[in-house]
Every structure is written in C-alpha cells, then in structure tokens.
Symmetry: C2
Subunit: 261 residues, 2 copies
C-alpha cells in the first residue's frame, strides 16, 4: 500500500480497522500530524492554560468537547479513541499499558488535546533544501531537557524539552524563517548555538531519541518539543491520561501549508 500518497481519511480508516498499527512517519505526505493528550475534565483548564502560556512547546491545534471522541476542525469524522495506531495509558503518572484502541476506556469527562508536531516543519525544511540529519541517518530526533522553566499553570510545571537539528551555517537563517512561519507546529527555534546556554551539558547524550552526527562547522539549532507537555503531564500525576505512543500520531486533514502565516 502507498501510505505516503494516501488521503488521510482513508489512512485513518485502515488504522481504525487495525490494518495499520505502526508509526505514522512519512504517511500522507503534506498533511499535518498531531500529538494526542487526553485528560479528565478536572485537569483540562490547567492544561489549556499551560498551553496558552507555553505556545512554542504546546501549540494546540484542536480541543475536543468534553466526552466527545470526535474532532470538528482538523480531522472531521475521525474517532480519537480508534484512529491512532497505538496509544499509551498512564495512571498516576506511570505507564499502565499500550493499546491499538482505547474506546473501552473512554469516559464522558475526557477532554482531548491535539497538539502540533514537528513532522510538519521538517517537511518544509526539506522542501527548502535544508538537510535534516536524523532523517538522513534514519534515527529519531535527539531531544534534551533544558534548564528553561516553562510558565507553570495550576498543577502543570516543568522544564522545556527541546529537539535539536544540526544545520550547516549557510542554512541557519532560512531554517529560522521556515519554522518561524509555522507557529502552530512549534515555530521559530528557541536557541541557536551553544547548548550550555540552555542547560544542556552533553550534546552527544540526548535525554530522549537518538544522538546524531554534528559535522564540523554545523550549528546546533533547538526547537521547543512536543515531549514538553507529555513530560509535564507525567510529572503532574493525573489519575489517568491517554497519549499517542511515540511516533504513532493522528494524521489530520490539515495541509502543512495551512499552518503557515
């Protein structure tokens, strides 16, 4: 099957039928993919406020109505509880299990947050002729916990997690321009250059993901990362939270182009 050129609705149907259970990287090229965080309503205000205060780490694409498994804007017709290939359920901040369908766990006080994902801006970086090292090396992007405090909101607080892409000096300006134009998928970098300035001790040892080659003269460029809200949710230890499994995203009907200003 040609997942790369499949319309998102068709792909989501295959996922719903559990004919696809693997990660969604490269699927439905040109369409935005989204991170999922599902929380009971009692936590929803604090989390939405956290997102408002930390838009680079937590750019919200859509919030479901309370109890609803459906989305109106980014993926009409999608079933939040079935159209992601793999989910994780956390209880009191601890991973409790992985599932390909979470409809059996759904509650009428659940609120779903769909959050922008850097897959969208990586496609634009590549289109602009900017190399993306972890894609070249077929690895996961390297991610680091920084010393930068997020703005806290109620029970949600913590350090910003960033992703890093080494950029040849002649492409750094363009990389800022391309990503700055996409604030709903993390936007402009938060830092360019010296990792220590943002509290990263060893660039060769990421906290999440894989280490990638940094060639002589290349500049490490750091973007706010969608792992930040996940990490902040885990630390807050809500009674239950459902997320996508890493790399297993919701494929939306929104073209990356429409995420640009």
């Amino acid at each position: 099957m040609d997942y790369e050129h499949m319309p998102p609705r068709e792909l989501r149907n295959l996922i719903r039928e559990e004919k696809i259970t693997k990660h969604t990287s490269g699927m439905c090229a040109g369409y935005a993919q989204a991170n999922l965080a599902v929380l009971p309503a009692e936590y929803a205000y604090d989390f939405l406020l956290f997102a408002q205060r930390n838009p680079k780490s937590c750019p919200v694409l859509e919030v479901s109505d309370r109890g609803s498994r459906f989305l109106k804007t980014i993926a009409p017709g999608a079933d939040i509880a079935r159209d992601i290939p793999r989910y994780r359920i956390y209880r009191d901040g601890t991973l409790d299990g992985e599932y390909t369908d979470v409809s059996a766990f759904w509650r009428d006080d659940f609120v779903s947050f769909l959050i922008g994902c850097s897959f969208s801006f990586e496609a634009e970086l590549l289109a602009a002729g900017i190399p993306v090292r972890h894609i070249e090396e077929d690895k996961n992007v390297p991610m680091y916990v920084t010393g930068i405090d997020c703005e806290s909101a109620g029970i949600f607080r913590g350090k910003m997690v960033v992703s890093m892409r080494p950029v040849p000096p002649e492409f750094v300006v363009r990389a800022v321009q391309v990503t700055a134009s996409m604030p709903r998928v993390h936007g402009a970098p938060v830092h360019i250059g010296d990792p220590e300035r943002i509290g990263i001790k060893d660039i060769a040892r990421p906290d999440f993901g894989d280490s990638v080659t940094i060639r002589a003269g290349e500049i490490p460029v750091f973007w706010a990362c969608g792992v930040t809200p996940q990490s902040v949710i885990m630390s807050a230890r809500p009674s239950i939270a459902i997320t996508h499994a890493p790399g297993h995203m919701l494929v939306t009907d929104v073209r990356n182009d429409l995420l640009k200003y």
Copy 2:
C-alpha cells in the same frame, strides 16, 4: 503631560492614582494595549476554550492566575483592578456600572483575560504608509455583526464581530501582509470586498462605532474584532463580568514589534 512618549509603567501609575481617567488611544506609542475580560473561575475554561477556537476574534495575550490581580508577562507590576482608566461591571449580562477602580469588587475566584487589540496593527498600517480612515476622520472604527458563526465552547457562542477599514486598492496586499504578521492582535483580515458575502447588509450603518467615508474605488477590508468576545460574554449572561470601558485599555510593556512573527 506627554502621554504619547511616556513609559507604560509611568502611565499606569498615573492611571492608578486616577490622574488619568480618559481613553488610552495614542498613549505610549509603540506599546501594545489590551482588552480586559474578568470572569469567575467557573466560566474560565469555557472562555479559554472559546479563545483557542476563535484565535482571530479572541487572541489571548495573558491569563492571570485565579484570584490574582497581577500579570507576569505583558505588564509585570500592573494591578489589573486599578491600572485601567475605566471599567464596566456586568451582572447577568447587563451593565451595572462604570468605575475607575474595581478593587473593592475583586473576588478570589476571578480570572482575568487580556486580549490583543487592533490599536497595535493600526500603528503598523500607518507606519507602512497605509491610510486608516477612522483615525483620519477622528472617529471610532466601524464594527459590524456578521453572519459568520464563531466556534462555540460551552456556554460561549455567537456571531463574529468585525471591524472595517476602507483601503485604496494599491495598499490592499500590503495591508494583508502587515496584519497577517501580527496574529496576536487579530492577524490577517477575515474578508476583503463585498460586505454581503459575510452578512453585512448596509456598510453605511455599522452596528458599533462610527460610519466612515469609503472613497470611490476603495476596498472595504474586514478584520475580526475584540468586540466579539465581549458580545459573546454578554450573551452568555455570567453572574458577573468585569471589562474595560470601550477605548480605555490596559497599556502593556510589550512593544508592538514583539507581537510580530
């Protein structure tokens, strides 16, 4: 006193001392001014969700902590209950009174929403050489209730209110570019041209503000307006809501330039 070139903090101190009680138009040139909406916490989630779903009408610059009269980001040191020249209190959706100080009414369940204001992008339009008719004619901007439904959120629902500025044809593209670069103060227009397409029957009779001259060949350009959230709050009839009085804004420490992407 030269209010136009005064630092915001100094101006806010004069307002707090009630030495300034008039509208803030033209004060602290270059700094963003903000709309205020204060609601009891029970309404805060629905309102924040309304803002998330309607970012052009309701671009949130900052949300206070519950009960707090202070802001951390856009105006550190400001007192929300005293640093705006004139407030309005609404009870059950009906205007109950105007005050220069609302500290006596403050409750520990109040949440304050500071919302971006088109004053910021008008300064940028003028700087780009684009005429702004209602400023030329020393009037209030004309505003219209459209047929465009806002995305509802809980108790908050209603039609989008837009402001209109007639733009000479040679400036229309630039007017889009200038305002599109400022999404936190309403951003790009929602419509260009034929008023009927968005449900406006008579361009000469605005629902709020003043009618302005549209010269031969000029194109009416429509932007989402901060009156939308006010109108939506009034329709929802919360037990109490506090807003700024029209034109009497919070002058922030944020330079308009920093609201650009």
